[in-house]
Symmetry: C2
Subunit: 590 residues, 2 copies
């Protein structure tokens, strides 16, 4: 936990200081920035490979251009660490005590050199197009530079942006940082083409960027500062849109990350001592291993089962070895969530059994496809939604909004298992049934195994499970908050001598009117617990249902807000998501 000592970086307090450096000093600076990246990621985790690869380009950008007058807009922010170090935020990398002050993402609240909060892919070209158009309308004059990685290029918003950026008719510079990788390997025809461009030094036929209407420059030596300075000087103050395609080495300067790029894209802390990335370590039993073992077994017997992801296989522990076992049944569509959902619908309508695994934060990219491509067609695909729930995450990666997003679309059956046995039963039911579009909210808060096989027939929709019948108060604990429901029940018993009913609803998308009506006889209060935002969520459906009755309903979940790295315990207190606070609320109401 000591501060990293530097010689050149120590004196860089703004981009102006970069401009005074000699090439030799800039090369030293590159090494010191890499130390800073390794130091920070080793202590708090973060994006390692992409940041190590973009060090030289960032130095050259700040040497040539004049930030913040010239505006750099970073895609997905996986490559913004060097930029942060050169724009007054080096202590967030060099000094362990300062690490928490600096976000891992582009953040305009930190610095005038950042222009947006960004954590989702494929947005930089689009955002920058707006920035450039505003510049033109105001009659201003400076460079607008969008940086985008090859992996992000295939996201719909990026390509939509390219189509419009190319006809801006004014200064617009796109730096395509081609490190030959998405998070995992790239997928799709465009990547064959980028390979051709690299191998032909940018001269091959059918240049995709030129077809869009861009001027184009290829830079093979994307980790050579002088070469990059020359290239950027060539496009500085250009009067039309241009793509500068630079070839960089992901993980450069840290041998394990250079050799094995995928596991080092993002790293958990504590790798430097052992020089191995614990991302790839032994897997304990958990929802990821359950899913993966299940799918592998299933595919052996049924060649139409097809696991799909959109560029983030590591999130589901679908490492290279696992993907190879899935073989042709596996599809990584790349960063393309809209396509993933529509593709799943096409597969399902033609008799295959797609299982699209996706993070809550990224299924947001595909609302319309969930609605129009999937649900409207009742396509029997399965969507596994991971990482939903309240957490101390960065504001760009919150898992709070999937219930309002998915559960209010007609036809979709959104299921919330509370334990291993329910999850496996739901998963198998979903894959084998042919009537419904199904999503399953994979629990994140806890891993529970009851040891009791679940034999529920999930084709009987919206049938809640009354686990324990009590009176006065009923607790509906959704999904991974069923465990919280159990503890609230105990608390109500011990503190208030209330023998509460306990309900496991399992279905997010509908109301069990028979069960809810039954509670009216001997209950006064119904409590709902959900691991997500209250607005538009599950609990509100219960509140609405009881609106015409005397039943009091207390909904617990997250407020509608973007929290940025707020500690989980603080959030649980704020939202009254503890057994003690809930029991207090009940006591006040009785």
């Amino acid at each position: 936990m000591t501060t990293i000592e530097t010689t050149v970086l120590a004196n860089i307090n703004s981009p102006q200081d970069v401009k005074k450096l000699s090439l030799e000093e800039m090369n030293i600076l590159a090494g010191e920035i890499r130390k800073g990246i390794l130091n920070r990621v080793n202590l708090v985790g973060g994006h390692l490979g992409p940041d190590l690869g973009i060090v030289e380009a960032t130095i050259a950008m700040h040497y040539v251009f004049n930030s913040p007058v010239d505006k750099f807009i970073f895609d997905v922010s996986h490559q913004c660490y060097p930029h942060k170090m050169l724009t007054g935020r080096k202590d967030g990398f060099l000094n362990p005590l300062e690490h928490p002050e600096i976000s891992g993402y582009s953040n305009q609240n930190e610095s005038e050199h950042d222009h947006f909060m960004i954590g989702h892919t494929s947005t930089s070209v689009t955002l920058a197009t707006g920035v450039a158009k505003a510049r033109d309308l105001k009659g201003e004059n400076y460079n607008v530079i969008a940086l985008i990685g090859d992996g992000s290029l295939t996201g719909g918003e990026a390509m939509e942006g390219l189509n419009n950026a190319s006809v801006l008719g004014s200064n617009f510079i796109i730096i395509v940082n081609d490190n030959e990788m998405s998070i995992a390997e790239n997928h799709g025809g465009l990547y064959e083409h980028l390979k051709e461009l690299r191998e032909s030094n940018g001269t091959c036929a059918n240049n995709w960027f030129k077809a869009f209407g861009f001027d184009y420059i290829y830079v093979e030596q994307g980790n050579d500062i002088q070469t990059l300075i020359n290239a950027f000087n060539q496009v500085k103050n250009i009067d039309h849109p241009v793509v500068v395609h630079i070839h960089t080495l992901k993980g450069k300067g840290y041998e394990p990350a250079e050799k094995d790029k995928e596991p080092w894209h993002w790293s958990v802390p504590g790798f430097l001592d052992k020089s191995e990335n614990s991302n790839g370590g032994e897997m304990p039993e958990c929802y990821e291993t359950l899913t993966n073992n299940y799918l592998l077994e299933k595919i052996k017997r049924d060649k139409t089962v097809i696991p799909i992801c959109a560029g983030t296989p590591g999130v589901f522990w679908w490492n290279k070895e696992y993907r190879d076992k899935l073989g042709e049944n596996y599809t990584d569509v790349g960063i393309a969530e809209q396509h993933a959902v529509g593709y799943a619908s096409g597969l399902a309508r033609n008799g295959a059994k797609p299982v699209f695994a996706v993070m809550t934060s990224f299924i947001q990219r595909a609302y319309d496809q969930l609605s129009q491509d999937l649900a409207l067609n009742n396509s029997p695909a399965t969507i596994l939604v991971y990482w939903g729930g309240i957490s101390g995450a960065d504001c760009t990666h919150l898992g709070l909004f999937d219930i309002p997003l998915i559960a209010n679309i007609p036809n979709i059956v959104y299921l919330a298992p509370s334990c291993k046995e329910e999850y496996l039963r739901m998963l198998d039911w979903s894959i084998e049934q042919t009537q419904y579009s199904v999503a399953i909210r994979v629990p994140t808060f806890n891993y529970v195994s009851t040891g009791v096989e679940d034999k529920t027939d999930y084709s009987i929709l919206n049938k809640y499970s009354l686990v324990e019948k009590g009176s006065k108060v009923a607790i509906i604990g959704l999904g991974d908050f069923f465990e919280l429901g159990k503890s609230v029940k105990e608390e109500l018993k011990s503190k208030l001598n209330i023998n509460a009913s306990l309900i496991n609803p399992k279905f997010i998308t509908g109301v069990d009117s028979e069960l809810l009506d039954g509670l009216k006889a001997d209950h006064e209060i119904v409590i709902t617990l959900e691991n997500g935002t209250l607005d538009g969520g599950f609990g509100e459906k219960i509140a609405r249902y009881y609106g015409n009755s005397g039943m009091k309903v207390l909904n617990y979940g997250a407020n509608k807000e973007f929290n940025d790295r707020v500690p989980l315990d603080e959030l649980l207190q704020r939202y009254h998501l503890t057994k003690e606070l809930i029991a207090d609320d009940v006591a006040k109401l009785l």
Copy 2:
């Protein structure tokens, strides 16, 4: 209202019948299909130009391929009428009595020759990729053909689909129907490129489709049946993905539509007698004209105000003449809603004043951009959401879901004006303020002018207006259902002698706790009225708020369901959205 007589089409009951025709008969058939299109659109309205342009290609497709074994997947369905006529549904075009039986969109419930319900753009390549992959997994052998128009190509899902379709490694045929038009003119670099391709007979440098990895054929004579048959025969049973780029004439065979393509993309009924499209007629005062006059005046004084649309200017009455007046301040991004929202965010963050006009049904394409690009950054852009509300529309174009979609995103201020004066005040406030991302739900149900200037300060968020203070029952009428609220108030007075309170909430995104708490003193029932789906909507927030009190809450709005051309009155009855039914409900509860 007479049935159209045909000679060749009369004997076409399935695609098998097309295969028996001579070229001469097919040319007669083309003319008869055009008569059917004109007949139907003249009587019930519909997509005219794109369907007239695709007649020959559809005949050739059915002549060469073997539907439904070979699978045709139509993008957006703007060009599916000829297909419907050749697949057993000609009476829906020839016989006025049968018109309502046949949807204007691809619909698998109508025919085994349709494989999806489709009404949003840019999905065909993606859906077809799934269909083809399922075919391959099952070891089946047939052609999968996706048809897509040039205007739809730039939608993110289409380009994501192209990237993955090109590496399928098996039979996959994309017919790009290039009629040189989106709904209006095309926008973006890709369209310069398509022009180059057309002008070079497909031989120009930097072929965009080849860059993606597709084989490619260009067909200049896209309205010549024999040429098309030859081209399709060339790709039939191909063992890899290929693009067949055909150049067609939008509106072909109906002179007014050939000459002036934009107003004839879609037509209201009743044009044949006068040979002019009443889409372009005199505009009565309405929210569209209010908006357009306002924006035009605003731009004269402020060059940073920039109206944006995503390929559907006609919806907002932004015709060619109006767009010319907006000049460089106008941006049509093409079919690219994600980009539109991100672009607006970029503009707003750099000091411009973007106003993105969009239909409820299409803002669905941009949930993640609303959340991450816009709201997370508090970018002060204005989104005008048109056509929200319950209607007898096709299931693909329902305006029911925008409130759950938008109102549950943190930071966004979603406003619901109930009259002209509020709308103009909100619009001006939104454009001039710099703190919030704002959406305004443009009323559709009625056009009301109170004649009283609205002087509300909308920067005081979530402040509802208590229009009339009564007791016992309070009615909260949101946006264009405020008028319904007024009539419910009168009904309660006359039927039940209740002097109800009447509230105009104006803000969809938050709860006025002071006002709601105040109602507890002398009210027993709160009624909410919203012109959209209840699930995840406005009313549920009120129900949740009152959950811990004795207040009864009755939420009125649409059920969570995809209705397909259900008459409006039937829906209003079903949802109890009449003053009589609501008064009955209240009477039962008292």
